[in-house]
Symmetry: none
Subunit: 220 residues, 4 copies
């Protein structure tokens, strides 16, 4: 299935510094990652300090460095965990896609990402700061686009791959726009704008699906 492949796209195997063998280690790592997430979200990548991360996690710096030998690495591990969550999310969406009508799919696509970004505010920081080597050669944006492509392929199976690629790129931008609007408190009627964006998404999906069918009909 293409689903498996594309899930693998977001999951990466390395990145983690030293797999903690024991339960104690697992708790530590989890605490450190959470602390890092909060610090990154609060201060940004540069301003977040290793000392602050450690102390927020109730650990010593020495301990932090035991698990993550550089700042890059803890950021990388955090990003990786986010990518896993995203992969999981898209996986579910892909599975549910065939049974969803266009309207619902548009809603899911938009809201899902908005919710994810709201839940994991550090994600934005880490994506902006992709200076550290990613586990995968692919950029995050690209990985995400691939996921969208696979969802799109699910609902518009007969669309040409090139067409899918283009449409996925546009959908990705609409998703990003939704996130931006959702976070922009200077917009008076945020709700209305969000609805408008969802409408745009629906319109765009509908168009894609119809064209796909038309093409299919034509070509057959």
């Amino acid at each position: 299935m293409s689903s498996q492949k594309s899930t693998a796209t977001l999951r990466a195997e390395s990145g983690q510094a030293k797999a903690p063998q024991r339960a104690r280690g697992h708790a530590r790592v989890a605490a450190l990652l959470e602390a890092a997430a909060t610090e990154f979200a609060d201060k940004g990548y540069d301003a977040a300090t290793m000392t602050a991360i450690a102390s927020r996690a109730g650990a010593s710096i020495g301990s932090l460095y035991q698990f993550f030998p550089t700042k890059d690495r803890i950021a990388g591990a955090l990003l990786e965990s986010y990518l896993n969550i995203l992969a999981e999310t898209f996986h579910k969406l892909r599975e549910a896609a065939p049974s969803l009508d266009v309207s619902l799919l548009a809603s899911r696509l938009t809201r899902t990402f908005v919710k994810f970004r709201a839940t994991h505010p550090a994600f934005a920081v880490l994506v902006e700061t992709y200076s550290f080597a990613l586990p995968s050669t692919m950029s995050i944006r690209e990985s995400l686009r691939r996921e969208i492509e696979s969802v799109l392929a699910e609902v518009a199976p007969h669309l040409a791959p090139a067409e899918i690629a283009v449409r996925a790129a546009v959908i990705q931008q609409i998703m990003k726009a939704a996130v931006a609007v959702n976070g922009d408190t200077s917009i008076a009627s945020r709700k209305a704008v969000m609805d408008e964006l969802e409408g745009l998404m629906r319109h765009y999906l509908q168009d894609a699906i119809q064209r796909a069918n038309l093409d299919t009909l034509t070509s057959s």
Copy 2:
């Protein structure tokens, strides 16, 4: 005219620290701002150092500090100059708008911002780092949206203000999307995606204008 007011919105008087009073000083300030732009664009706000900016401008660190007493201040001055350019650009666009057909307007809106961002890569960095106090109380995003609103008001004069605000917000997102796509080298068929976005913009503008006219007919 609303045009005047909204142009003023983007222009601000502060930002600059100590105005140069000699010819030499003016040249220095220009060189420093340019050097800062390059450094910010290359390294990002945090990683750009005052020393690097000074030496890139061929000035001593002391000279830099003579005109810009903090890093914030030079960033602020640079941002302000960008906002002035943007204000100018929007001013022209607003003036030209009535004589443009929807297709051309869509194109102008999209390309203009893309071009601006490509020409001034430091702008993105500075907008992300708006930690330093802006001259205006309004956020940059908000100012920009206001400009878009005034252009929109020019071509769809009978649209209700609230409707304009919502539509402007969406248009702003499409403009941002165009910038993002234009800068994302991982997209294979960038050209096609750009066209698609422009199409979206055209569609959205058309819809706004038509609805405005319809509303007018209905209400009259």
Copy 3:
């Protein structure tokens, strides 16, 4: 006892930044404080540099900042240690006071402070530079005056509090005068002047004690 309270007056708990938790740390802190004392005494507060303090203590600048996050803080910690010594000194003096005759008390009061100031030359510098927040709300001068008051109360118990306050203020000035004379090499016959001051102190104490007794007799 009033002695306890007034001892507490000079001792304060803050000032130190990060308490060392290892033996090595304790040694470092001691070395740093001593180095700071020497630097402050030699150069004055402003001219003493953190770098010089660190290197005089055989530590790296980072190590200094580990324990004292600002220049203020190391000065504060040093001052605090001096205040502790002074509190201790006065405590002993207060205990010994009843068994001392006026002549000896005068001598002790004068010499003690002179000796303290000679032993800790940085004290003068720090007292002059009390720009950094003191742990206590009271000024150092005031704390010292309180100590003198409590000694005076010991030897002239029947003196009215207001009278004690005034006399303590004068005694404090004589003590300061002794320090000044002792350190002024431009005075040819320093020894003679010191004796004169001690005589003044004796005269003044005697007067206080006698008046106290007279008042008591009269009022009874």
Copy 4:
């Protein structure tokens, strides 16, 4: 007369950087000195900046440096002007001394210095910071002591010079004490303490004069 010699003691001929030839220059110099006085008094010697002094005087730094080639020099010039005022003051006091009774003399000695220090708060700063070369080889304290000696010689002419020196040193300390008390807001009953110090001064002067006369009688 000894009066002339000792007046010369405080007045110094050099110190000034470049005698301004014209009226304009005089005004500038006066403004600069006043600005310096305010800055030194407000911020202390180290924290006062040449730039701040110049701008407070409404002059450019270049202009400041035209008259005072170093920071030391402007401080020196200021100090010198203070010493001239003090010399003048003592000169008058010396002339008035014979016609003053002890009580009044004590009062004058005490108050005069207190007033001077209150009027010229920068004096304290400059005296503490006598790192810059003084015009005279004598320290300020020593010069002042000489002045006191000459006043004392006026009222107790038969006192042995060595005795005068010792007594003058003590009187100087009482004068300093008065200044300290006057400036210490933490003293509740400042007025009472000031009176007490004045009493001490009177007592001490009286004693000196009487002993002088006794010695004279005895030796004759």
